[in-house]
Subunit: 413 residues, 2 copies
């Protein structure tokens, strides 16, 4: 007997017919001798409908009131799911987030789970019932209802898995699992059978379409085994687990790209302490998130005003913040007397990810060679232990992804 958390997304409960289907799936798992806790999102379209109503009344509703409105979507899902189970003769109880003991902080609209007190859920499981919990919501210390933000139902599921010591947390969605790259870009993209948390986090742009990244972090921190799979297929999907020695045999797990960033470079920056901080503090004060930061070894020249070393300082920001960042940097550039501020939002970031690359020499070499063979110039490089990212011209993004997928033979299991 295993204790299983099953989370179904909005598209899997979009109609009463689909709700019946997933109810059957949960019942099957229970009939196989397991304890089953189901976590649901709102029926697809419901949250948008509610947001539209809200915005017809207020351009930016108070987050507390918006939370009161939005929690209803998941409450509707769980009560209908319970009825579907009951019509199939199954014992079940539905719970709002607060009834399932999901306690959060006070940040309405993007609350973090502080604690889960799943006593009631345990009681229901002990009575042989399926417990179905409204995802995406909790309660704060003031007894106000909160929502967890985008993808919050995944977080609810993983947090319940932690609190209940579940054997597995199944994330049911409308895709088969995590792919080596976006199947729309490369026809040879292959479903990954097993991936470790760290790889999943680095493949965020691939994974985010499937599973909220915060919940993967939670899985990592508490070692929750996660199974991402299709809600209407019996095929196994992708297991997200701790790194094992087997995984290290594969140098690259997946290739991903993003075209939503822009690069800014401050040329000929005086190389003295505090300059990088001064540049970035302005940006963070403006609420802009910096992704890559590159500063190369400085070069020396004839002293000017006593400064003998200079460097170029580059970073990337979301493309939507490009204009604002350029403005800020031109001002800063004048103040700290840099050579020139240049920027480019016609870029793409292409990354290869894999825990195996730690033990495989030549991964970077093969990456750069592949790009060169295709005539793609690399303007920035950044690496972590398990990831190499390159900034290239935007028009080459898909070509780069396909070439790298082929070069590292990701189509092979």
């Amino acid at each position: 007997m295993a204790r299983i958390i099953q989370k179904y997304g909005g598209s899997s409960v979009a109609t009463v017919e689909l709700i019946k289907e997933v109810a059957k799936r949960a019942i099957t798992a229970k009939n196989e001798g397991n304890e089953v806790v189901v976590v649901l999102s709102a029926m697809k379209g419901d949250t948008d409908r509610l947001l539209k109503l809200a915005h017809s009344l207020h351009p930016s509703p108070e987050p507390r009131e918006l939370d009161n409105l939005l929690i209803t979507g998941e409450v509707i899902s769980v009560s209908l799911f319970a009825m579907a189970c009951q019509s199939l003769g199954e014992k079940v109880k539905s719970f709002l987030g607060f009834q399932a003991g999901i306690k959060t902080d006070d940040a309405h609209g993007r609350a973090r789970i502080l604690e889960v007190e799943p006593a009631r859920i345990k009681t229901e499981l002990a009575k042989g019932r399926i417990a179905v919990v409204a995802g995406f919501q909790g309660i704060n210390r003031f007894n106000d209802l909160t929502t967890l933000g985008r993808g919050g139902s995944d977080t609810t599921a993983v947090a319940l898995a932690v609190a209940l010591g579940a054997d597995i947390c199944e994330i049911y969605t409308d895709v088969d699992g995590i792919y080596t790259t976006d199947p729309h870009i490369h026809k040879n993209a292959r479903k990954i059978d097993k991936i470790c948390y760290e790889e999943m986090l680095e493949l965020a742009s691939l994974g985010a379409k499937v599973m909220e990244i915060r919940s993967v972090e939670l899985g990592l921190n508490y070692g929750v085994k996660i199974h991402v799979r299709h809600a209407h297929s019996q095929a196994t999907g992708t297991l997200i687990v701790e790194e094992d020695s087997d995984m290290e045999k594969t140098p690259v797990r997946g290739v991903t790209h993003s075209v939503n960033e822009a690069r800014i470079t401050l040329q000929r920056v005086p190389d003295k302490p505090g300059v990088a901080a001064r540049i970035l503090s302005l940006i963070s004060k403006a609420g802009i998130v910096v992704d890559m930061i590159i500063q190369n070894q400085s070069v020396s020249s004839e002293p000017i005003d006593g400064i003998t070393h200079w460097t170029d300082f580059s970073f990337t920001v979301p493309a939507t913040d490009f204009a604002k960042t350029m403005e800020l940097m031109k001002e800063t550039g004048r103040e700290i007397e840099v050579g020139q501020v240049v920027g480019d939002d016609n870029i793409a970031k292409v990354s290869i990810v894999g825990v195996g690359m730690r033990n495989h020499a030549g991964v970077a070499t093969l990456m750069f060679q592949t790009m060169a063979r295709e005539g793609i110039n690399i303007s920035m490089i950044s690496t972590s232990e398990i990831k190499i990212s390159c900034i290239i011209e935007k028009k080459y993004a898909e070509l780069a992804v396909r070439s790298l997928h082929d070069a590292f033979e990701l189509e092979k299991a």
Copy 2:
């Protein structure tokens, strides 16, 4: 400064435009220096939409699960109302029933309020905010959400008025108030300015279209001044208050009728102890609600099996239970050896109601004379201290109402 409860029904919050209108009304009351608590029903149509979803999954969903589903309607109303207030620059907070301290018993779908702990509401009022509370819902001792059944938002409003010691409980609806009779039946029907709780209870069939009768009982028990009025008119409506000496000057407050009952008569019933109980216990066991019960003085005859006194025993039940009741009574009739069981669902009940009739002789006489003048035969009569009801042939129902309205000059204030 007064403390005011304002309850708006589903038709008054059916669209975001209407929600804005009633938000303005609440803000006006607050700007006049009052403390304002608003209680809302679900947007018109929402509850039906949810019920339809539920019934597409289960013919009779478990009441606990149905309650989880149905509470969302009122939660949506209150959060949207709060946003409407905020867009008008007003300070406001919305509350689910449980957050407003509405504690109920465990009877899902028709829960009774056991206690109201309005500490949070008081806090918000003290901070100068409008508090808006989801009607129709509460929480039980198991921390499960409950609904109060039909018209439950009225009960929420009156219960909050009691708990908060409100000066008045305003019930906003889509009619002007309570009328002397149904304006569709008599063009001279007149809006009643002031009515006492007891009259309102006896006029249930008139009042029920406007206000849930349970909440009137609650108002009676705690002396809550209730004002039933139109949500989109400034005119005063009908005040429901304690009886005063002024009211006793009017013998009849209103005329009402019902065509949804059926009469059953057991003829020549042996007049011995326990017979009436035996007849009615079967009916109540079947869950059928008996309205009027009539048993006249028995008549004597030659002894048969030692019995010398006989009587006819009549009662009325809802028309929908007529066939079932007839069946039960024929069986019972054979057992206790009555003469014959006859029934009629082609009947109407016409009633006149008024606390003043206690002090006015001749009210019954005028009623019976009026019926006789119109050629209407009365088949049963039942009276209480403030009400006289007659069972007549159904086709005369509206004629009887109009004639009685004229005879007692109810068109005159």
